[in-house]
Symmetry: C2
Amino acid sequence: MEQQYLSIQKISELTGISTYTLRYYEKNGLIHPITRAAGGRRQYSAGDLEWIRFLLRLRTTGMSIRQMQQAAHLRRQGPSTAKERRQLLEAHLESIKKQIEALQEHQDAIEDKIVVYKQWEEDYPLKEESK
Amino acid sequence: MEQQYLSIQKISELTGISTYTLRYYEKNGLIHPITRAAGGRRQYSAGDLEWIRFLLRLRTTGMSIRQMQQAAHLRRQGPSTAKERRQLLEAHLESIKKQIEALQEHQDAIEDKIVVYKQWEEDYPLKEESK
DNA sequence: CTACAACTTAGAGCGCGCTCTAAGTCAACT
DNA sequence: AGTTGACTTAGAGCGCGCTCTAAGTTGTAG
């Protein structure tokens, strides 16, 4: 029999989420109750890891704890919530698209500003046209 | 004589930044000391407004207060800091590009997940293949 | 004349998302 | 037998970026 379960420490290393935060997420329903080994130790499955990585995706794209709670809640209801989960993700996808659009616009504006500074660099140290 | 100056209230309306925050930014050096009218009231110029809008750009692209302080500080030194300012912006531009890349990757992953849910929606309510 | 808006300093409070401590228990490893 | 790592609950603390209050002053508009 292979040891297919992962300790909280290992999960922490694999995901970059601290053990504190992993317990905090579980306590707050972002992660379902992880099965326990003797002595009450958490043993994470590959599926658990996958879910945590998905959470990480949501988190780094700006989803709040509250919304992640909602997503996890729906997931625990089983496949009958597929539609709601899809809708939640679609809404989040929209938000990601808007973030990207906004960032691209800002990127352009900042690139323009950089061009202005480059011009100044050429002008300033040579002549005193401080205009 | 035209009234070319704007009150703090007006700036707040034009930028969406509260008057509290505008004063907070000024106190913390993100905004240079605004010229005062009789009684010490701030009168913002068009240039001030422009700078505040630029700050907003930096803020919404994830720049911290500290970095914005730095940007404002360089600006107050005059055109001789053009190079440093350019470098600061270039570094920030890099960070924006990385944000966009990461978001796009997450976008793809979430789109895939949505496809999975759509499949479930077709499968689940019809048959009991809860595999 | 009276509202109202703005000003000042100094500091409290808040929501978010962790992060850590305390204090005690338990089990596996060496 | 001792060390290590995990566990529990409950709660404090923190960094960030505001947000607001207090309390008193002064100027402008109707």
